[in-house]
Symmetry: C2
Subunit: 426 residues, 2 copies
């Protein structure tokens, strides 16, 4: 425990030095990291083979094995990711406000790094590279804890990135890998040194972190996403979108879990939905009104509160747009919800009143992703409303400070009427 | 307890309706509230007299009595505050990003209300009016709990504002006054209905709230603000700034608690500081090197961690700008810190490396205030780094959502190379 407290204190003090690095230095380091990853290809793939072998022995499921695998394609993807980060504007020191409060009293609101960010992530080793490079680009120190299945790959990736970064002039503390699972509980206590925690994993895990730490947490609970097929839905759009949102990657948080169908289109749409989904081996759990139109399993109330992460979808026939909005706000997880409609008034109402990070019209919920939004990459998706919402890229990794330049001004002069504010935005 | 859970659920459901009100309707309601406050002047002042009488019986201290008083001047101030809010731009539905991901696939990032905000505030009844009007302007529902000393005044102010708001077409749930202190603990459990808590009060109270609720908290712990008189400090600026920052309002969180003096100017500056502060009855607690130059009480390490909120200041002589930055980052509360220097390089370094919400040059720390920043008013000051930092006005009371308009797009087409993203900012 003392070890972790001391370690995070040292990282905190390095974080102040990070604020001192120019965008050019941070970009040069990212370039060197990309080169180092490419030139250490063999070492990375060998380490990954160790993890894969161990995964086979441990009889890991095929989706986990797929996520664990780090091959030439993944290497090329993470290096492309770094290249795209290089081309993005420096997120630091942007002036958000520039205001003359009075003569020779100028206020600036400027973006700056958050400081020290702890990220606990799942078995994908490519996530390590993405998170490390996003944090470096935004001037933050990152403390990472990856999944134990990927321990060998993570260690090698960490060592390559850390060495290249330090050689490029970045402080030692910019990146730290925590290898011991027990150290997570110690990290949770370090609210004086760690500014933000981003847990990526199961809902239970995220809730555990929130309850056991005073450090602010950014993340998502469940991903219970909806598609609402409105009375003005175009079936030619609805069917492919529903199939994509359910089956394109079934274990993702932005996968649809509940389909709401307006009663006016239920009779025509539901048989086509059933046919298309059953081709993909999706099990349908329908409400009573759904089962009057198609044969399927029965849905219960708890289905509407469940993130299946599986080839299962719950279906409910509803009476109106308002009922759909009500259902989504009640049962959803405020992640991403899509309306299929040709009626733009209905779409606007849905987007205004559905209280979710992403509100879509006529497209798949699977678009909720930092890369697909053009952020280069993401550190995660937030279903909270404070600070950052939805896919979190560089913008979510900065905060701001107020700089006030004066020439001897005191508040008493303003409070007692000898001076008055001008408030002129520049 | 059930009462509070049901109440907050009802407020949550009204909060969705708030998002549906135009900026014009919200402004009209604010105008009506201002009128109603003016035309109910007598009733407000009578209620306040009851609180003041009770305060005298309870032997409340003179600063508390001063804060409790709601007279014609305070009435005029809060009405002016509402007028200035009226003139501020609508904080809702601002486009923060507008991006074509592909043909007919447009992403918008737009500001929207947070939802339901709970504010627990101190004895100043004018705070009730400020918070209620900021929340209404930003489309949020507010649940307020004021200090019990001001119970009569708060109740009357609440009733006037609530009646005027509802008459102007705002949903009933836009404003709720909690009168029973025991209900605070029940509020803390309502993380499904309340989106944000803003506790204003002692550090212990804020910490208690943070530890006992899963609701995100925005607020400030201590306000341990510093002034650093650099070697290039102009004494003609330094002395009035130090006096103002310490004595202009001694019980405020942006009042200076520690003065750091560069060794090169200590001999000339400290005697003048002592003379000026002692005229205002400020007690100086100095480090050993300070006491070699002026006679004063002795400071101990714990002084540097103390928010006095009193006519006391700790003084330390230090060797360099770097040492000053180190001291502030170690002992400060990341609120507001000011450097007195004519050297702009030193000022820039101080502003870059001091990890505080406000970093100032040559002016008083007392400027850290929403009104003085031109925000119209503030709901509080945040020393956290997430979401909002420093004085929190309308900008801190909104979040955003992503709206994505498509025409049938599915992710599989992009994942399998049949389509590719264009990422064109509009």
């Amino acid at each position: 425990m003392d070890h972790i407290i001391e370690l995070t204190k040292q990282i905190k003090s390095d974080s102040f030095l990070m604020a001192n690095l120019s965008g050019e230095v941070r970009n040069q380091a990212l370039s060197k990291i990309a080169q180092a990853l490419l030139s250490n290809r063999d070492q990375i793939l060998e380490a990954n083979q160790l993890d894969l072998d161990r995964g086979i022995d441990a009889k890991l499921s095929s989706p986990i094995m797929k996520r664990l695998k780090f091959d030439d394609q993944k290497l090329s993807d993470v290096v492309d990711g770094i290249q795209s980060l290089l081309s993005l504007k420096d997120p630091l020191w942007t002036k958000l406000l520039e205001r003359e409060l009075d003569d020779q009293l100028k206020l600036y609101k400027v973006t700056c790094p958050i400081g020290v960010i702890g990220v606990i992530f799942e078995s994908r080793p490519d996530a390590l590279v993405q998170i490390a490079s996003l944090c470096l680009k935004s001037g933050n120190c990152a403390i990472l804890k990856g999944g134990s299945e990927a321990a060998h790959t993570n260690k090698v990736l960490f060592e390559i990135i850390h060495k290249a970064g330090v050689e490029a002039g970045i402080p030692e503390g910019f990146l730290t890998l925590i290898e011991n699972r027990a150290d997570i509980n110690e990290l949770l206590k370090c609210h004086e040194s760690i500014d933000l925690l981003i847990p990526r994993g199961s809902n239970e895990f995220v809730q555990y972190i929130m309850e056991h730490s005073k450090i602010p947490v950014m993340g998502h609970a469940d991903g219970i996403c909806h598609i609402f097929a409105d009375k003005d839905a175009d079936p030619d759009k609805a069917i492919p979108i529903i199939v994509d949102a359910k089956t394109q990657y079934v274990a993702a948080c932005n996968t649809v879990e509940t389909l709401l169908v307006h009663r006016d289109v239920a009779e025509t749409l539901l048989p086509a939905v059933k046919e298309a989904l059953e081709k993909k081996d999706v099990i349908i759990r329908g409400c009573e009104r759904t089962r009057e139109i198609i044969s399927c399993e029965t849905s219960e109330e708890k289905d509407f509160e469940t993130e299946y992460l599986d080839y299962i979808i719950s279906v409910k026939v509803i009476d109106s747009l308002e009922d759909a909005i009500f259902h989504i706000n009640k049962y959803g997880s405020h992640h991403t919800d899509s309306i299929i409609t040709e009626n733009s008034e209905a779409a606007e109402k849905f987007m205004l009143l559905v209280d979710s990070a992403g509100v879509y019209q006529n497209c798949s919920t699977r678009f909720a992703d930092g890369f697909r939004y053009g952020f280069g990459a993401e550190v995660g998706i937030s279903t909270g409303k404070l600070h950052a919402r939805g896919p979190v890229g560089l913008d979510g990794l900065v905060t701001y400070k107020y700089k006030l330049y004066g020439n001897g001004q005191i508040v008493a002069d303003y409070a007692e009427g000898r001076s008055s504010f001008k408030f002129k935005d520049l």
